[in-house]
Amino acid sequence: MENREQQKTWEDIKNIWNNSSENKEINIQMSELLIELKEKTSQFEKDAIRKDVELIKGTMSQFEKKIITSAFKFVRRIIQKFKGN
């Protein structure tokens, strides 16, 4: 159980906290804000799509390389078999 002094200190803490937004004035130009937010959201979507496309391209190249490498190995094995025979 807190004593009276501790309760008063907690009230002081709450006052310090509540006043912590009072040292600054927050001015928001709302019409401009909405325009900026809409632009940034569109840009975010464009960036996300571009990242996805790059990822797919990179992955596809890697996939194609793997397929070609496997095919080469297979062909080499077949050739070695014929040479051996």
Binding site: T9, W10, I16, N19, S20, E25, I26, Q29, L34, T41
Partner: protein
């Protein structure tokens, strides 16, 4: 009719800018400024606004977003490809009547809060914002009982710390 969602968003931000700023200020650690966090929070609220279906009270929802942004901001800065949001429509201006003694008290409080574990920091921030334990539980995902137990300990820690620093 088309402007109603925009107007509702504007009113939401205007009504809650003080709350958002207080949360951002406690989490801003050099070189991160409260204004940086504030802009990011507003942006994330905008992005999530359309999908907000009223499952929770709007202020609880805002606090959840603000805490997520503030806690993850440092990680976001460290990622090379991730850019921070810059919203020129938001201006945070120091007031001329700033009292240096109040600043000292705030810095002492911030220093004490910074000694808490991240989850305890979130809890005390929400408590100082006068959310009920039920609301804090909704934001943090912990049970009300757990919040109550933690708050008892957090209050003790903060009271001891603040008493040493400013009394």
């Amino acid at each position: 009719m088309q402007n109603q969602p925009n107007q509702a968003f504007e009113e939401l931000i205007e009504a809650n800018k003080g709350r958002i700023y207080r949360v951002c200020r406690i989490y801003a650690v050099n070189p991160i400024e409260p204004e940086d966090l504030f802009q990011e929070v507003v942006y994330q609220i905008w992005r999530s606004y359309a999908s907000f279906k009223g499952e929770s009270a709007i202020n609880t929802w805002i606090y959840k977003i603000a805490l997520n942004v503030c806690i993850r901001f440092k990680e976001k800065l460290n990622k090379r490809n991730d850019k921070t949001i810059r919203l020129n429509a938001i201006h945070v201006i120091p007031k001329e009547t700033t009292n240096t003694y109040d600043d000292e008290k705030y810095n002492a409080l911030r220093s004490c809060i910074s000694t808490l574990k991240p989850i305890d920091k979130s809890i005390v921030v929400l408590s100082l914002e006068e959310l009920s334990y039920k609301e804090i539980a909704k934001v943090t995902g912990l049970s009300e009982n757990h919040i109550a137990v933690k708050m008892k300990r957090i209050r003790k820690v903060l009271l001891n710390c603040i008493t040493k620093k400013i009394k």
